[in-house]
Amino acid sequence: MKGLKAEAAAELIPDGASLLIGGFMAVGTPERLIDALIARRAEGLTVIANDTAMPGKGIGKLISAGAVRRAVVSHIGLNPETQAKMLAGELAVELVPQGTLVERIRAGGVGLGGVLTPTGLGTEVEDGKPVIEVEGRRYLLETPIRADFALLAAWQADYVGNLCYSLTAHNFNPVMALSGKTVIAEPEAIVPVGVIPPDAVKTPGVLVDHLILRE
């Protein structure tokens, strides 16, 4: 697999693209890719991620730079800029329960037509969605999510793109790896094939299109 500099990867991502971005409060978020997107003044992006982190970190930097038109996230409570832009009508925010969000992304990547979940029944989340009864229990039908790009952070990648993750930096990354048309991974280290044992690989390299090289 050929590697790319973060700047070159940012050039592959057009304005208006939809991006799945890994991370939870910026832990497990590809920071160099985000910095490169801001440096090339990307705009009109749709970001699908767990949260918008906080100003100055991870996805929070994209929000502050005005690069995001629409965010599909579960939580914005720790980023006052996201809340302010949303209330001012500058940023469209779709709030999705966290467990529903990850399963919608998974469904998009594994060829399923949606998810049936009890989460959100009887709340605002139910509005406009079909309720389906299965074996006497009611569920919301939630649709699959795919995106133009998945931007992942990994701990190690090997030369064929196999990825492994560390502790709470897994979060959405292994799931998003299946759901982007183009998958770009930013590892902290790139190691020779064999260093990551097969049992430790969480994202097989066949899913990864580009690896971000070290600075």
Partner: protein, 217 residues
């Protein structure tokens, strides 16, 4: 004793040996301080760890090991790191024994609102809707009143978190158990009278003959 510590100490009494427990950010996260290690409890943080440990010493933080509020933590022996699909599979699938969350309002039907004040504060539901829908037991840990108004109300005016009735509400004044008949006053905070609790509660309370003081361990 400070209100938050009182609430956390009382909630800790609900946690039995061997449980898997999720603590929300803020006040609920204090509960872990009052659960002795020998109880063998595993705490889950929904961002991806089972076996959450104490805060690390200054300068020893692992940037890959945080809790759901983004704060640095450690992991206990026997811990497991998991991705978000596994984490919420545990939560929604009924594998989580207890969740402890904060609340904005709880009503007479035991419904919880804790994720949005329309037009003012919209933090988002994060994992709360999945936690309240899926956990075996749902404990709300919150102050009894906010800005002089009762948070325990006849009917929630704020958007609901789930249609699932919560199991128990622990405040700085009382322990309240929602039931088919309504909200049952189970315990009083030390030195607080039933009359004082009634006066501070907008919702109707069912008051048994005996309302003992809280057990604080």
């Amino acid at each position: 004793m400070e209100a938050k510590e009182l609430i956390a100490r009382r909630v800790a009494q609900e946690i039995a040996p061997g449980m898997l427990v999720n603590l929300g950010i803020g006040l609920p996260s204090l509960v872990a301080n009052f659960v002795p290690a020998e109880r063998g409890v595993f705490f889950q943080a929904e961002n991806g760890v089972i076996g959450l440990g104490a805060r690390p010493p200054e300068g020893m933080q692992d940037p890959h090991l945080t809790d759901a509020g983004g704060g640095f933590v450690t992991a206990v022996p026997g811990a497991a790191s998991i991705d978000s699909a596994m984490s919420f599979g545990l939560i929604r699938g009924g594998h989580l024994d207890m969740t402890v969350l904060g609340g904005l309002e709880v009503d007479e039907a035991g419904m919880l609102a804790n994720w949005k004040v329309p037009g003012k504060m919209v933090p988002g539901m994060g994992g709360a809707m999945d936690l309240v829908t899926g956990a075996a037991r749902v404990v709300v840990a919150m102050q009894h009143s906010a800005r002089g108004g009762s948070k325990i109300v006849p009917k929630c005016s704020l958007p609901l978190t789930s249609l699932r009735r919560v199991s128990l509400v622990v405040t700085d004044l009382a322990v309240i158990e929602p039931s088919d008949a309504g909200l049952v006053l189970r315990e009083r905070a030390p030195g607080v009278s039933v009359a004082a609790i009634r006066a501070a509660t907008a919702a109707r309370l069912i008051v048994p003959e005996e309302v003992p003081e809280m057990r604080l361990g």
